[in-house]
């Protein structure tokens, strides 16, 4: 039998773990517990709740206002893992620097990042946004329309990404992707990257931006990217969106072309 004194000696360890990983507990509380409770109380999904809030609080047609409201809702009310304002700035800067014409977005979710990309694109540019989940896609479409972007600008594809990528050329007539933004399942980063490489849609200078490569993390993806030699890799260090203290990063890959 273990004596109580020995059990008490483990108390510092427990305290240490709690203090050190407090942000993770906060994340757990906000992303899982609150969501569960609200789901039970309202009967709506989290994305629909977010849409309701935005509908009541944001100015329609104003992308910035919609983004701000989104940020507010995510940081104060509930938690949705969007790209967030801080990492969003990195994205904005990239868009300004490169002015992509064709953008592929994997993982629309609520349309936050789609709106973010769309508002800083040049005229005539086009976003193909891929979302697997039907309900999320509906919400995303509403939000995108609310922000004032039409179907010429944003093409929402409701299908799994691994089905979409090989058929981009045939179904949508895409010749080259200037920017690929990955924010879907972290497990799918690597297979989708392989598909992209195989499809021949990436040209020299194409940029692939992958969110959340450190937390939740896509180690295989990073490893492949570093070893393959096809890309110039930069990892932007940042913190997880809407939560302080959890390190995260965005990987920016510049396709060098196949030699």
């Amino acid at each position: 039998m273990v004596s109580p004194a020995i059990a008490l000696a483990f108390l510092p360890l427990l305290l240490t773990l709690i203090i050190r990983y407090r942000y993770y507990f906060v994340l757990l509380y906000r992303a899982v517990l609150i969501r569960w409770v609200r789901d039970c109380l309202t009967g709506l999904s989290r994305e629909e709740r977010a849409f309701q809030y935005i509908l009541t609080h944001a100015t329609p047609g104003d992308a910035q206002s919609i983004l701000d409201t989104f940020d507010h809702w995510c940081s104060k009310v509930e938690f949705i893992s969007n790209i967030g304002p801080k990492k969003g700035k990195i994205l904005d800067r990239l868009l300004q620097e490169h002015c992509p014409i064709t953008v592929l977005e994997l993982g629309t979710h609520c349309g936050y990042s789609t709106v973010r990309i769309a508002r800083s694109l040049p005229i005539g540019a086009r976003i193909y946004s891929v979302e697997m989940d039907e309900r999320n896609a509906q919400v995303a479409e509403k939000i995108i329309r609310l922000a004032g972007f039409d179907e010429d600008m944003v093409e929402l594809i409701v299908r799994p990404s691994d089905e979409v990528i090989p058929r981009l050329r045939e179904d949508f007539g895409v010749e080259r992707l200037d920017l690929v933004f990955m924010d879907h399942w972290k497990r799918c980063y690597l297979p989708d990257l392989h598909l992209l490489e195989g499809s021949g849609l990436l040209g020299e200078g194409s940029i692939i931006l992958a969110d959340n490569v450190i937390f939740p993390g896509a180690p295989n993806f990073l490893r492949h990217v570093r070893r393959s030699g096809l890309y110039e890799v930069r990892v932007h260090r940042a913190t997880l969106e809407y939560i302080r203290g959890i390190r995260d990063g965005m990987a920016e890959l510049t396709f060098l072309g196949i030699k």
Binding site: M1, V2, S3, A5, I6, L8, A9, F10, L11, P12, L13, L15, T16, I19, R20, Y21, Y24, K186, V213, I214, F215, P216, G217, A218, P219, N220, L222, R247, G249
Partner: protein
């Protein structure tokens, strides 16, 4: 690979260590197999005799695989060689043309020749073998084609090839050295540069001529011997400088050769010396990977090992061995026998592991020793030796620690070191011993980015209330933690006494080891908590680190002292028990006598088995046992923490990372970092326990030696295989003295209880070397009375008279005071000197600036004047001004170097400046 070797052999005696180190680093970056090969090579260099031969043979085996690469390499070499050769030839030709050349230049050349020759002789042997293989086939064909030479034995052919090769390198040798040590003969390079195409053509012709000569020689159907002789006379002596025949050339060649050999010998001796320092290579390797702060821990560990070695030698040689050899054997006395009731379980492993049973009744513990004054035919004074060794070990430790501290103290410069922090960090804090890219990255980030961040932090003031609240909270938590851990230990020790009174046999392993477990666990987990709390406090990292160190120190000290206080209680209990036993003893003896008298009146010496005799509890052995158990459990905890915290974690990260839902390497549970301060403190406290308990358990230094030895290897291995370099790479220049100070404090604090027990508690009546005496130190008086002449005792009694002692003490205090004040004055004078130098330098730089400005002005004026005249003169102007601008920085640099010393010597962890080590 050969490149590195060349480098190693080139930079002869001077910076031998560095070159070695360089090789080492290069190896690290390479694959395992090659690494092994080169390391072998390095080791071989130490034993010079068989070096070249063995190297050649080994080379052959290793090179077989890399032959392809080698060939390419060789080709490259050849091209460079050819170039050098041309220019050499040319020089020689010129030499021939101008017969009356200066002696000095000739000599220089000879030196060069010699150098190349010896260099070559070393290198050649390796290369020979390589080339031999390659050329083997080719040359065989050559031989076959003329058809004149018959097919000889394979060996013979090989030999022949070797000889031929021997010729060839001789011609090419100079060129090799030229290509390698190009910087040395700049002059020669100049000559090469000034060659005209015709001259080059001439050179080529000469080379071709010579080549033709050799090939014709090769093709001749002569025996090998003749060929060689002709080659020597015709070729070598004619063309090859110092090796050829000439006036005094032979002697000179011999001299140079000997010098070369001597230098090589010296180099090898140096290598051998470093190889003799235990674990030096290991530590160097770690240093290159993790920076000097981690290496400083291992150096500290090695130092500790050395001290413990001496402590062990003293106790083992002067106490344990004499008692084991000359003292009464086991079973001859009650104190040297296991009691009857314990005999059954005395050999059980569980009992022995707890240092009970036979281990308790052996030379390992105090109780086993006899109080016989002199033992054996040597008349060895056992009790006296025991006492003196106990005192001597402590005295020796004091001496060593203080000496080291004093030596380190010299290196600490005074002065206001708070200014120019940022510059110091950016420009001077690079650790040149780092050889690992990741570490270098971290260090670089620390030098640049974090320095900037820190600077910003120090200037901005954020929410003061929040930080205040957090700090108060953190301190409150800290105090709670310290008090809680102290109370927990006290509670546990009291409980264990209760268990002991009721008999330990009724309780399980957990209850018996509760004290040690709790102490180890607290010692393991509380530092982690402090670490976390210190991040909560949001202090400057340096201050945070000091706080943390202070907290850990307080914790360890509190735990240790609680333990000792509880032990004191236990001693009191034992002594009360002893009184009862004493009383019972007389009764028992009386009963014994009575019983035997009634039986048989003639047998006076009563024989009772020694195991049956009742005996006292012997508190000294109990104390020794407690300390030994503490050390063992501490060691176990350290190792288990290492295995779980480092190895298990690393394995987990390594193998689970592929199938985990977040990135284990970057996120939670990444690879662990090596915790220098925690480890050093652990070591220091471990040593403190040794000092405290060594008097009652002579086996403690031996145990500690074992522990240190094992942990050296284990930790070296663990660091290399499952730790990552720290994110903040500190340089551990001044920290050693800080740790030394801690060690001194611990030494003092750990001798206090030992002295207290020795002075104030009477020894047990029936065990140990001092049994039967009133106090332990009575042994000195006894020795004075019986072993020394009477006058000596008298003198001693006079000397120990308070009348003499008190003035002496007073004198001592005065001397200390005097010395201290003088040192203070010196320090102040030093500071003033520094300041003076600084101001002087400032003035000088100002003056220089002014001068430079003036000259610039003048130059500009002159330029303006001249600008009308021509373009040509204007071009020469910028250099004039630029020379002055370039002279300025060195001056200012000199000023800073003589002025403040950077960093914070009084705040040791972050001493960022100059290599003090």
């Amino acid at each position: 690979m050969p490149r590195h070797k060349l480098i190693a052999s080139e930079s002869d005696g001077k910076d031998n260590e560095f070159s070695l180190y360089y090789v080492e680093v290069e190896e690290n970056s390479k694959g395992g197999k090659e690494k092994q090969a080169t390391r072998d090579g390095k080791r071989r260099r130490a034993r010079k005799g068989e070096v070249s031969r063995r190297r050649a043979s080994e080379k052959r085996s290793t090179e077989m695989s890399n032959k392809r690469a080698e060939k390419k390499h060789e080709k490259h070499h050849k091209t460079t060689r050819k170039e050098g050769e041309k220019h050499r030839k040319r020089q020689r030709r010129r030499n021939a043309d101008e017969e009356a050349e200066e002696e000095s230049s000739k000599e220089k050349k000879n030196i060069k020749n010699e150098r190349t020759k010896t260099l070559k002789l070393e290198d050649e042997k390796e290369k020979d073998v390589k080339k031999k293989r390659k050329k083997h086939v080719k040359n065989e064909e050559d031989d076959a084609n003329p058809g004149k030479t018959k097919q000889k034995d394979c060996q013979d052919v090989a030999l022949k090839e070797k000889k031929k090769k021997r010729k060839k390198p001789e011609t090419t040798s100079e060129s090799e050295s030229n290509s390698d040590s190009e910087s040395k003969d700049n002059q020669a390079v100049g000559v090469l540069g000034s060659l005209t195409p015709e001259e080059l053509e001439k050179l080529k012709e000469a080379v071709d001529e010579r080549k033709k000569l050799i090939t014709t020689l090769k093709g001749k159907p002569w025996p090998m011997k003749k060929k060689l002789v002709i080659l020597r006379y015709e070729f070598v002596e004619k063309y090859e400088g110092a090796l050829g025949k000439g006036k005094g050339r032979k002697l000179y060649a011999y001299k140079v050769m000997m010098m070369k050999k001597w230098m090589k010998f010296q180099r090898d001796l140096e290598n051998f010396k470093t190889a003799c320092i235990p674990w030096e290579m290991k530590i160097k390797e770690i240093e290159s990977h993790f920076g000097s702060s981690v290496a400083s821990y291992f150096i500290f560990l090695r130092w500790m090992y050395g001290i413990n070695m001496i402590l062990f030698g003293l106790t083992f040689g002067l106490v344990m061995v004499p008692e084991a050899l000359m003292g009464k054997p086991y079973g001859s006395m009650p104190r040297k026998t296991v009691p009857r009731e314990e005999e059954a379980s005395a050999m059980n492993f569980a009992v022995l592991w707890d240092f009970g049973g036979y281990a308790k009744y052996s030379v390992l513990f105090y109780g086993y020793y006899n109080n016989q004054r002199a033992i054996g035919w040597l008349k060895f004074r056992m009790p006296l030796s025991y006492f003196l060794v106990g005192v001597g070990t402590v005295a020796y430790s004091y001496m060593v620690v203080i000496r080291t501290m004093a030596r380190n103290a010299n290196e600490e410069g005074g002065g206001d070191d708070t200014s120019f922090n940022f510059s110091w960090k950016t420009f001077t804090s690079w650790d040149y011993l780092i050889g690992n890219p990741e570490t270098a990255d971290n260090k670089f980030a620390w030098c640049t980015k974090e320095a900037i961040v820190e600077e910003q932090e120090s200037r901005k003031d954020d929410n003061i209330h929040l930080t205040r609240f957090l700090r108060v909270l953190a301190n409150f938590l800290l105090l709670c933690c310290l008090a809680g851990s102290g109370y927990l230990i006290y509670f546990v020790v009291r409980r264990s006494q209760k268990f002991a009174l009721e008999g330990l046999e009724n309780y399980g392993w957990w209850e018996r080891n509760e004290v040690n477990m709790v102490m180890s666990l607290l010692g393991m987990f509380c530092p982690m908590l402090f670490d976390v709390i210190s991040t909560l406090e949001n202090y400057h990292p340096r201050i945070a680190l000091q706080w943390q160190l202070g907290c850990i120190f307080a914790l360890f000290l509190g735990n240790l002292y609680t333990f000792i206080i509880a032990l004191m209680d236990a001693i009191q209990l034992k002594r009360a028990e002893e009184e009862i036993v004493k009383k019972n003893m007389t009764i028992w003896q009386a009963n014994l006598y009575n019983g035997t008298v009634s039986d048989n009146s003639t047998a006076l010496p009563i024989t009772v088995h020694t195991g049956n005799v009742p005996r006292g509890p012997c508190w000294e052995t109990m104390v020794g046992q407690e300390f030994v158990r503490l050390i063992i459990s501490d060691t176990m905890t350290t190792y288990i923490t290492l295995l779980i915290g480092d190895l298990f974690r690393a394995v987990l990260v390594q193998f689970l990372n592929n199938c985990w839902c977040w990135d284990l390497e970057y996120g939670f549970s990444s690879y662990s970092e090596f915790d220098v301060s925690g480890n050093v403190l652990g070591l220091i406290f471990n040593q403190g326990m040794i000092w405290m308990g060594a008097f009652y358990a002579p086996c403690l230094p031996a145990l500690n030696l074992l522990r240190l030895h094992v942990s050296m290897y284990l930790q070296c291995w663990a660091v290399m295989c499952c730790n990552v370099p720290q994110e903040r790479v500190f340089k551990a220049s001044g920290s050693s003295n800080f740790y030394m100070a801690l060690l001194l404090v611990i030494l003092f604090l750990s001798t206090l209880p030992a002295i207290y027990t020795i002075v104030s508690i009477p020894p047990s009546f029936d065990c140990g070397p001092f049994s039967g005496k009133n106090r332990m130190f009575d042994v000195i008086q006894e020795t004075l009375e019986t072993d020394f002449p009477a006058w000596f005792g008298k003198v001693f009694s006079y000397a120990s008279n308070p009348v003499l002692v008190l003035p002496f003490l007073l004198l001592l205090v005065l001397a200390i005071y005097y010395l201290q004040s003088t040192s203070k004055t010196y320090k102040r004078i030093n500071m003033e000197l520094k300041k003076k130098l600084q101001t002087k330098q400032n003035e000088e730089t100002k003056k220089k600036n002014k001068l430079a400005a003036n000259e610039l002005e003048q130059a500009r004026k002159a330029g303006e004047q001249r600008s009308n005249s021509s373009q040509h003169t204007q071009n020469s102007e910028p250099p004039v001004s630029s020379t002055h601008t370039t002279t300025r920085p060195p001056a200012s640099r000199g000023h800073t170097a003589s002025g403040h010393l950077p960093g914070h010597p009084q705040q040791p962890q972050k001493n960022s400046h100059s290599n003090r080590k």
